[in-house]
């Protein structure tokens, strides 16, 4: 209820007011939250991407869950490398009742790649946060079991970071030999 009205950048005006209302109610009271509307392959539906600060991350997601976005779909991380803040973490939620999708994302810098865990809000965030930790190297304090999930435990580095190059790790072929 405090703070400025959230800014809504929309490339389409065909959205019924109620749909925007639901998204606006989620970010109401969170300073600096921005909304972008994205079209989809289905002409009837759009989804909204909400960017929030990392301090508001858990509270916004919890508020979204209480507002009806109660189905957890996805959690992703992106390494933007040359941009600051460098890492983006986003969570994809559905409100089945209102047939709406929202992606709530936040950005964190390289020297503090830490995002509070969502496992307290959605237990399903467990595996997805482990994947983001494993491949991008985001730390999720409060996660019950933040271990590598796809790569072996002894793996060094986080391969989906942009400074981890393809082919950097030599692969040893054990079977047979080739005379060159």
């Amino acid at each position: 209820m405090t703070g400025e009205m959230p800014t809504v950048e929309s490339d389409s005006s065909a959205v019924p007011g109620t749909e925007n209302d639901l998204v606006a109610s989620v970010i109401d009271g969170f300073d600096g939250a921005t909304v972008t509307e994205h079209a989809t392959a289905s002409s009837a539906t759009v989804y909204h991407q909400v960017s929030v600060s990392v301090d508001d991350w858990v509270s916004v997601v919890r508020k979204a869950k209480n507002a009806g976005f109660d189905a957890f779909v996805d959690l992703y991380a992106v390494d933007h490398f040359a941009q600051a803040p460098r890492y983006e973490v986003g969570v994809n939620l559905i409100s089945m009742e209102n047939n709406q999708r929202i992606i709530i994302s936040t950005r964190v810098p390289y020297d503090d790649a830490t995002v509070p865990t969502l496992t307290g809000v959605f237990v399903g965030a467990n595996f997805y946060e482990r994947e983001a930790y494993d491949l991008i190297g985001i730390d999720f304090p409060g996660h019950p079991d933040l271990t590598r999930i796809l790569l072996p435990d002894e793996w060094v580095g986080h391969p989906l970071r942009k400074d981890s190059s393809v082919g950097a790790i030599p692969v040893q072929f054990k079977a047979g030999s080739v005379d060159l």
């Binding site: 994205h38 079209a39 989809t40 392959a41 289905s42 009837a44 539906t45 989804y47 991407q49 109660d70 189905a71 957890f72 779909v73 996805d74 992703y76 991380a77 992106v78 390494d79 994809n92 559905i94 089945m96 047939n99 999708r101 992606i103 959605f122 237990v123 399903g124 467990n126 595996f127 997805y128 994947e131 491949l135 590598r148 999930i149 796809l150 790569l151 072996p152 391969p159 989906l160 393809v166």
Partner: protein, 476 residues
């Protein structure tokens, strides 16, 4: 599978009082069978399927009407099993199932903590098939990307290609012709049938119906033959591409699809004849591996698994893509969220997909099978000999690739296993900056402990098979 006191204490008179007095007396098992039905999405109508399951003599145990959400490992669901012999907690043993176990559908590994024969804790361990496909995607052009993504969920290659192509088209702002969209719907729906047939085969095999395996494979072969005739390959097709599809449907495809629909429909009837009244199959599936609607939403479980729990959510209805909303089809839903409901829902989904395919045979529009945008799709071979511009376009497209503007797009399709989503972050250029996949099997594997905890060891295999995880999709 549940505490037996419920069955014994269930007053038979009370159940009979609901019945028409003139009707023949129904046993408690038949009562249970009669309520084990499906209904049509958006209506209160029960699905006619119920008639096929209300006969037989299996004693089924009552299921709690409202199990409620148990956020931790299914403590309140009705497949909970209490060991009759008390086992000292110190004597619990952990056994390792997989990654080479034949019924783990690939290379899934499960840590099972057992108390006697009761599973008390489960931990799925994945990553044995991780090949870094999301990283590989960053090194491939958008034109090459299809060959990569089609190998993720190798049982639903068309769905992967479709999600990828739709996302790229979203970034390009490209419209595809109506015929291309219809071909895409036809191929993805037939792919759903092929995938569910393989699921039926392996589910039957895993719980002892070995002939089911042969039957499922037999009908799936007809689907794969049609895919091979259309795309040249039995799997990993790279047929649906940004801008449309790679080639038009082959001559005589209407006859092929009509024949496929007839043969597979007859096959589904055979499976139901084999399994619907099979006492062993019913005992192994009813009330086993229950997951509640709330748990589905918490864990990100979508698709047939969520619909078997009664979650009325199908992206083909909620966010229709490729004009799939023009076709008439129902969304079957279950009530109990057990293995048996997943079986009935998938069987009915196959029928609905065949129904969609039948409508496409009749209504497919004529026109181009891909967008005539030379920055995205290559010119016809003949034009290259005639036109310098066509030669340049062809050369640029296959050396440099498709130039995609900066932006972020997320697009999901209803795959055979649930919501299959593709997120592409583009910074301009011909290669994606980041490609993230929302894999339905990943969420399903995460929810396995909910289904398996406090059930019998033998039911682990039934629950796992009913989740239908594809490890290529889980690990990517």
């Amino acid at each position: 599978m549940t505490d037996t006191t419920d069955t014994e204490s269930a007053p038979v008179e009370e159940l009979e009082s609901d019945q028409d007095p003139s009707a023949p007396e129904m046993s408690v098992a038949d009562q249970r069978r009669a309520t084990h039905d499906m209904w049509v999405s958006g209506t209160e109508d029960t699905y006619p399927f119920a008639a096929a399951t209300d006969e037989g003599a299996q004693e089924m145990l009552p299921q709690a009407d409202d199990p409620g959400a148990s956020m931790q490992a299914g403590i309140a669901v009705d497949d909970d099993y209490t060991s009759e012999v008390l086992v000292d907690p110190d004597e619990r043993q952990i056994i390792n199932m997989g990654p080479q176990h034949p019924s783990t559908h690939g290379v899934l590994r499960l840590h099972l903590e057992l108390e006697g024969e009761t599973v008390r804790r489960v931990k799925p361990i994945i990553g044995y098939l991780h090949t870094g496909m999301e990283k590989t995607a960053e090194t491939l052009t958008y034109a090459q990307g299809g060959t990569n993504v089609t190998r993720m969920d190798y049982l639903a290659p068309f769905h992967n290609e479709l999600a990828y192509s739709l996302t790229v088209e979203q970034l390009l702002g490209l419209e595809v012709p109506a015929r291309a969209s219809a071909i895409r719907v036809l191929m993805t729906e037939l792919n759903r049938v092929a995938s569910h047939l393989l699921w039926a085969a392996t589910q039957g095999m895993d719980i002892g119906a070995l002939s089911m395996m042969i039957y499922g494979w037999r009908e799936r072969e007809i689907c794969l033959d049609f895919f091979e005739k259309t795309t040249g390959l039995r799997m990993n097709h790279n047929y649906i591409r940004p801008g449309g599809v790679a080639a038009d449907l082959p001559d005589g495809w209407q006859d092929d699809v009509t024949n496929l629909i007839a043969v597979v429909s007859a096959g589904i009837g055979e499976y139901e004849e084999l399994l619907n009244e099979n006492p062993i199959f019913l005992d192994r599936t009813m009330g086993v591996g229950v997951i509640t609607p709330q748990e589905c939403k918490e864990y990100g479980v979508t698709g047939p698994m969520a619909r078997a729990s009664g979650v009325d959510w199908d992206l083909r209805k909620a966010a229709p893509y490729c004009g799939i909303d023009q076709y008439d089809f129902d969304v079957p839903l279950g009530r109990h969220g057990d293995v048996h409901d997943r079986y009935t829902v998938r069987m009915e989904e196959m029928r609905q997909s065949l129904h969609i395919a039948g409508q496409i045979v009749e209504t497919i529009p004529s026109g181009d099978y891909r967008a005539e945008d030379r920055k995205v799709t290559p010119p016809p071979r003949k034009r290259i000999d005639e036109s310098m511009e066509a030669l340049i376009h062809h050369f640029k497209l296959f050396t440099e690739g498709i130039n995609v503007p900066e932006g972020t797009a997320y697009q999901s399709v209803e795959g055979p296993r649930g919501e299959l989503g593709c997120l592409i972050v583009s910074k301009g250029g011909t290669r994606p900056w980041r490609m993230h996949w929302r894999a339905p099997s990943f969420a399903a594997v995460q929810a396995l402990p909910v289904m398996m905890t406090d059930s019998l060891l033998a039911d682990v295999v039934a629950s796992l098979a009913s989740a239908d995880p594809v490890l290529g999709d889980v690990d990517r």
